[in-house]
């Protein structure tokens, strides 16, 4: 297994980097209190339909490129670096991977081509007010009415939940955890933007009151959702690596040019050692994310282990890098106008959503420390 980028992956990385450098890096933080940052619809159409990024890990028969988590990781690392506000993570990763791996051909046929083209934005709504991402069994219930399934309950911490066209919702069914597709315009559905830390990754609360929904697949979806969660973990870890690397780059760039006591502050060991420690963590994080990207999606516990390793380490590495970046910038790093705090917001947000480092370590302990686990 290679943990280096191959030629085509390197090309993909350059393509995304160039696109984001050209189009997306000039954005400034929105004024405080104005809610989440709006994404640029024109850019969205370019990166989906034109560059084909939303279809990267979608099978070719639905118009995708048929690539896998490793390539998704390449794209996410670049997006994390640019802190690119877009529905990509929700649409292509959360929803796109859920549909791709749901085993329901009709559902795939119905939604994947539109995800690939960029015509449809979507998200996955699993978490409930108790905060648990897995929410197994969910408190949201699905009932079979006269005209089909209806859902009732509350989903929250839903990424891009206020803008997504399609919501994939988990609910308790007589035969286990069911997965459902709900159009945002469905009756009985209300959505509220949450006042969340990270303006570049909006969160919403979704209330469902006897909302009609279409079932995806049959029987208990727990197992396929668990596999999807590992794919999401690996993708998010790659995004965190990009964010951490951007913080290190910013810190180093500032330390090279900012002068105090008549010399660049980067010539002082106190600053050098902070940067060197971040480099250690960024490179270790990158190794972990690459490894996870190369094994998730294949059966066995190795994928779950690698995903837990990557998420725990990359979460802490990114948050550490974001904090040190602000510290190295000094006063300017504490201003709203400087982008440093946006990285801190994204870092903490991605650290606590989808499983905290502590929860990932508890999961890893279960996977590796049970009796008979190989050393």
């Amino acid at each position: 297994m290679s943990l280096s980028l191959g030629e085509e992956q390197e090309e993909l990385r350059l393509l995304v980097r160039t696109f984001l450098d050209d189009k997306a890096t000039s954005h400034r933080p929105p004024p405080p209190g104005t809610g989440p940052q709006k994404y640029d619809g024109g850019l969205w159409r370019q990166l989906s339909g034109q560059l084909g990024l939303t279809g990267l890990a979608v099978p070719e028969r639905f118009g995708g490129a048929g690539l896998g988590p490793a390539e998704l990781g390449v794209v996410l690392e670049e997006m994390g670096r640019a802190l690119f506000p877009s529905p990509f993570f929700a649409t292509a990763v959360l929803a796109g991977q859920t549909v791709t791996h749901c085993g329901d051909e009709a559902a795939m046929e119905r939604w994947l081509p539109d995800i690939v083209s960029g015509a449809l934005t979507a998200t996955l709504a699993t978490a409930e007010p108790d905060g648990s991402w897995a929410a197994d069994p969910p408190a949201t219930v699905a009932d079979r009415g006269r005209d089909g399934w209806v859902l009732s309950g509350t989903k929250t911490y839903v990424v891009d939940g206020h803008t997504a066209d399609l919501l994939l919702v988990t609910a308790r069914c007589p035969d286990g955890v069911g997965l459902f597709g709900v159009p945002a315009t469905a009756p009985g559905l209300t959505r509220t933007v949450l006042d969340a830390l990270d303006p570049t990754r909006p969160l919403a609360r979704i209330r469902l009151g006897a909302t009609p929904a279409s079932r995806i697949g049959t029987g208990d979806a727990s197992e396929s959702l668990a596999a999807v969660r590992d794919l999401v973990r690996a993708a998010l870890a790659a995004e965190q690596v990009g964010g951490a690397a951007a913080c290190l780059d910013m810190a180093v760039g500032h330390a090279k040019t900012r002068e105090q006591f008549g010399r660049p502050i980067g010539s002082f060991q106190a600053i050098k050692h902070k940067c060197a420690q971040l480099l250690v963590e960024v490179e270790c994080a990158r190794s972990a994310a690459r490894f996870a990207g190369s094994v998730v999606g294949s059966p066995g516990t190795e994928a779950a282990i690698a995903a837990a390793v990557a998420r725990s380490y990359c979460s802490e590495a990114f948050t550490h890098a974001a904090k040190e970046n602000i510290q190295i910038h000094g006063g300017i790093g504490f201003t709203w106008e400087h982008r440093a705090h946006l990285y801190l917001r994204r870092a903490k947000s991605s650290e606590l959503l989808f499983g905290t480092p502590r929860e990932e370590r508890a999961r890893l302990a279960r996977l590796t420390m049970s009796e008979g686990a190989a050393p």
Partner: protein, 395 residues
């Protein structure tokens, strides 16, 4: 060193090589590690001779000096199999540090004279670089070598020399230029440890053992023929490495620490400590760091195979490893509580005090072979491109 072979040859398929090596390791393995230090030294040395005699020594070395001249991918397999078989590493620091310099910069005569006996373990090589006044600031070293006909007369003192008490040879850096010449006045000299005027005085390290020694040179006469490279040209030879053998060796280290972690997990499970949430959390964290050590090694190898160069991750591995080995030993001692305080002299000691010893020994992990602070300076300046401290002499 693929350049040494005159004719290109088809390398043995990896799986064939692996099973041949595994068969050898199963059939000729060195057996249990003796506890007594003297016996352990003899045992390690005998194993090195066994490897050599069966053509399984020096994976990266040219064949003419007894090496295997393996392609890089085979070197990785070699290290994986040796780690799996839990065989001891080589005696002394010659193989890892001196040999690459001699292979690249020595004369034919020197290579023939020194390398095979070093590889077989017949001569033990130890490094004489650091001095009392030249630790992190190695270019300030003061041991002098004065030319007198075809010999150098060496005077001075080296310190922190590992394996010095058993060494047959010291590979040293000495000053042949003026004191102010710093790294431009340093020569690489190989000194016979048994020559008149060489005095080795073991130092007790903080574990209570003798990991290193002071070495005094008093008018020691060294033939000019034992100089490697040019006079005053020693500094650039110091950090020579042979192909990417260190990257392959890193896999061996990663495997070792996966095993250490497994042993700690088993110990804690036996003592019921794994029920504790905090302990599980810390152990999971070590699991993560140990696995990342492995991924780092794998990524370095992938980078070498894909791009021909080890890439940025290889430069951070050492800091990651040294932090890990300090932390895991201290954690083990902490979890054991008062029982963690006991050494092998008490029968109640847990596993003969191995974790306590490790806790003490690994203080050296962030000091020896370049302190962690110097490594961070190097990363900051050479990888991240941060400016030098203007108060530091240029190296």
């Amino acid at each position: 060193m693929t350049t040494a072979s005159a004719l290109p040859r088809t390398p043995e398929p990896l799986d064939v090589f692996r099973s041949r090596l595994r068969d050898f390791l199963t059939g000729h393995g060195p057996g249990r590690r003796p506890r007594d230090p003297e016996e352990r030294f003899a045992w390690t040395r005998a194993w090195q001779a066994t490897l050599f005699d069966h053509g399984f020594a020096g994976p990266s070395w040219p064949e003419e000096y007894g090496g295997m001249d393996l392609p890089f991918a085979h070197q990785v397999v070699y290290q994986e199999e040796l780690a799996r078989a839990r065989v001891p590493g080589p005696v002394g620091t010659g193989l890892g540090i001196a040999a690459p310099t001699i292979i690249k910069y020595g004369t034919d005569e020197q290579r023939r004279r020194w390398l095979p006996s070093m590889l077989r373990g017949d001569t033990v090589w130890a490094q004489g670089y650091s001095e009392p006044e030249a630790g992190s600031d190695l270019p300030g070293l003061r041991t002098t070598a004065r030319r007198d006909g075809d010999t150098y007369v060496v005077n001075g003192q080296k310190v922190w020399t590992s394996h010095a008490a058993r060494a047959d040879v010291f590979f040293t850096l000495v000053r042949t230029g003026t004191r102010a010449s710093r790294q431009r006045g340093i020569t690489y000299l190989v000194v016979d440890a048994h020559a008149p005027g060489v005095d080795v005085r073991p130092l007790r390290d903080l574990t209570g053992g003798h990991l290193f020694a002071e070495v005094f040179f008093d008018d020691v006469r060294v033939p000019v023929a034992d100089r490697v490279g040019e006079e005053n040209g020693g500094w650039p030879l110091v950090r020579t490495s042979l192909g990417h053998e260190r990257a392959a060796g890193a896999m061996n280290q990663a495997a070792t620490y996966r095993r250490v972690l497994g042993e700690l997990r088993q110990l804690l499970a036996e003592r019921g400590a794994l029920e504790d949430t905090e302990v599980r959390d810390r152990m999971a964290d070590f699991e993560i760091r140990a696995r990342i050590m492995h991924y780092n090694g794998q990524r370095t190898i992938s980078d070498i195979l894909t791009h021909g160069e080890p890439g940025p991750v290889s430069s951070v591995s050492r800091l990651h490893i040294s932090q890990f080995e300090q932390d895991i030993h201290e954690f083990a001692v902490d979890v054991l509580g008062p029982a963690g305080l006991l050494g092998p002299g008490s029968e109640e000691a847990v596993q003969r005090g191995r974790w306590l010893y490790g806790f003490l020994r690994t203080r050296a992990s962030t000091i020896g072979a370049g302190t962690a602070e110097i490594q961070r300076n190097t990363l900051a300046e050479q990888v991240l491109g941060l400016p030098r401290d203007p108060g530091m002499p240029s190296v």
